[in-house]
Point group: C2
Chain length 338, copies 2
DNA sequence: TTTCAGGTGATCAACGTTGTAATTCAGAAC
DNA sequence: GTTCTGAATTACAACGTTGATCACCTGAAA
């Protein structure tokens, strides 16, 4: 079937180790020998057996990439970027989906797939501080998301609080007074929902506007459906808001849907700002003004950090915080007040 | 570090082969021995080294899943389903992205990743009949998409022609006369664009309506952006259509965007039907009427077919054609003509 | 008591690769 | 011509697992 070092060696008339040396660019091979071997490799279409190499080397050349839901555009787009970044580092990506619960995420860490990978890029939603031991036991890991475990793990985090504060300030500066927040999870002390709400709260406070729980819509997970449902709840509580800060873009699109259902036009009646800058935000109606949390660099930073960690397990934990920026499109309309 | 059969054997006071027998449920192991071994396995948290097992067995337990673009919702959702289906078959999925060209897709077939997988589920867009030899050389493969290679390969195909014809007939029956087709690729003889246009054409012909090239918008690839651009082209050619059949949902959403840009309301002025039934179709505005090509079963059928092919390379090629249906939502409004 | 069958367990050789170390070889220096 | 040096090549032993084979032991039948 597939040819091996031995087959090539026999054809080239050298020992199989010499073939191995050629394959691995060992410098002390005579040119004449090298070309003989290369010709044989060519003729037999030899490709190294990666399982054997992995066994010998103790490395597989694969990394895991685990996210809560691949069907969420943000994660799908991130997966595509991680696969590309990994390819540049000669790594292959094994994409995994975690069941959305603490147990489900712990399972990712102990999955048999951990034995197939040299490391893991992981965006947990439910893990807590007490899970650090298990994280550390899972081998090289780079965490995505928020700075849950400062100083103890490699992480690529979003500036959730600052970015959310910035988005809310933008709505305030453009004259909005009643700004709804969609996507909160009041029962959870950490995580994106918490930090994005915190940024929203800070902006309100700085502007001297009272935080009003009636304007806060809870939503988990963060699908369109949940955004629409959450928006409906808020609308059901009384006077509609004049703006919405949604904690991610899919929520924002769901919220827009719910607003349109009751005849509120975006941005004429209600402005909307999202978070993530998924591709779709450019083509939604209206085109979505949103926070870009440094997307283009997240995948590359994560892969680089993981490669470094794999090479040197003792390296001091590294925290990357890519810059965010607001992408202004058409879902916000300035208000003037008399 | 990680413990091996030998470590467990030493602790349990048996030979390492006995441990292997326990792990592999070899029947002739005394209960007493078995429990001793299991206790040792437990204590050392032994997990088999999958690389070593792969090397020995000649199988990796991984399958490849290759699609043109993971960031397209249809493929992202499909990937999630394939990963789940594979898990049920005790298989791990290695997700890959093909560069959108014939060369890029051939590269998938000869990639070093083929050496890491037992088989491949592949949705090519650009391969041709003459590439069959390379497909066959790539080991067990199940093709997704259209019936390009009838009888020679395992395939899970969509009923592209029939479903497109059905969608177009639906628009005709609801009183539409000028139906645009968005997503054609007139330069390519096969593939989804070709077959979906063919279905559209058949429906028109059966209804005695002339096929009008001015109503056909070309688009590659099938992103929102392309749908919007293609729609604008068609609109620029003269009288607007009263309906649009878009060859997939993202194109449909882009087309809706372009229609709204010029003040045409969907569905009041123009009806729109899509293809794929991606999640987003439920939450777009308006909610999208679309063809569901049998999504729920495609992933499972593909994984099952691949598992079968891996187990028996000589099996006769199998063609699955899941049923499609039209999901009626809110993007179509019946027209009455005086 | 002996024989035999079959349950139980151990020995050994792969699978295909790479690191270590030993060996051969060619050319230069004496 | 001998010796030395470093380049070029090879032998061998892992890596951790499973299949084939062999050896042992126990209990039942003769």
């Amino acid at each position: 079937m597939a040819s091996t070092l031995h087959d090539v060696a026999k054809l080239a008339g050298v020992s199989f180790k010499t073939v191995s040396n050629v394959v691995n660019d060992y410098p002390f091979v005579r040119d004449q020998t090298r070309s003989k071997v290369l010709a044989a490799i060519e003729e037999l279409d030899y490709r190294p057996n990666l399982q054997a190499r992995s066994l010998r080397l103790g490395r597989t050349g694969m990394i895991g990439f685990a996210v809560p839901e691949l069907s969420l555009p943000y994660f799908a787009e991130l997966a595509a970027q991680v696969i590309e970044a990994a390819q540049r580092h000669d790594l292959t990506v094994l994409t995994e989906q975690s069941i959305p619960s603490r147990a489900g995420e712990l399972e990712i860490l102990s999955s048999p797939r951990r034995r197939m990978t040299d490391g893991l890029i992981f965006n947990p939603l439910w893990l807590e501080d007490r899970d650090i031991p298990q994280l550390e036991a899972a081998g090289p890991v780079v965490l995505l998301g928020e700075a849950l475990f400062p100083g103890t793990m490699d992480q690529v985090v979003m500036r959730n609080v600052e970015a959310s504060r910035y988005a809310t300030e933008y709505l305030l500066e453009t004259g909005h007074k009643r700004i709804a927040a969609i996507g909160a999870d009041l029962s959870k002390p950490g995580g994106s929902p918490h930090f994005r709400l915190e940024g929203y709260r800070q902006a309100l406070q700085a502007a001297g506007i009272a935080f009003d729980l009636n304007l806060v819509g809870e939503a988990t997970p963060w699908h369109r459906l949940d955004g629409a449902r959450s928006m409906r709840h808020v609308l059901g509580r009384g006077d509609p808001p004049d703006a919405v800060f949604a904690f991610n873009d899919t929520l924002a699109l769901g919220a827009i849907h719910a607003l349109q259902e009751v005849g509120l036009r975006v941005p004429f009646d209600v402005s909307v700002v999202g978070f993530d800058d998924i591709e779709e935000a450019q083509y939604s109606f209206p085109e979505l003004t949103t926070i870009n949390p440094g997307r283009s660099s997240i995948a590359e930073l994560a892969v680089t950090a993981l490669a470094r960690r794999i090479a040197d397990r003792g390296a001091v934990p590294h925290l990357s915080e890519p810059d965010f920026h607001l992408v202004v499109r058409k879902s916000v309309m300035p208000r003037s007040h008399s």
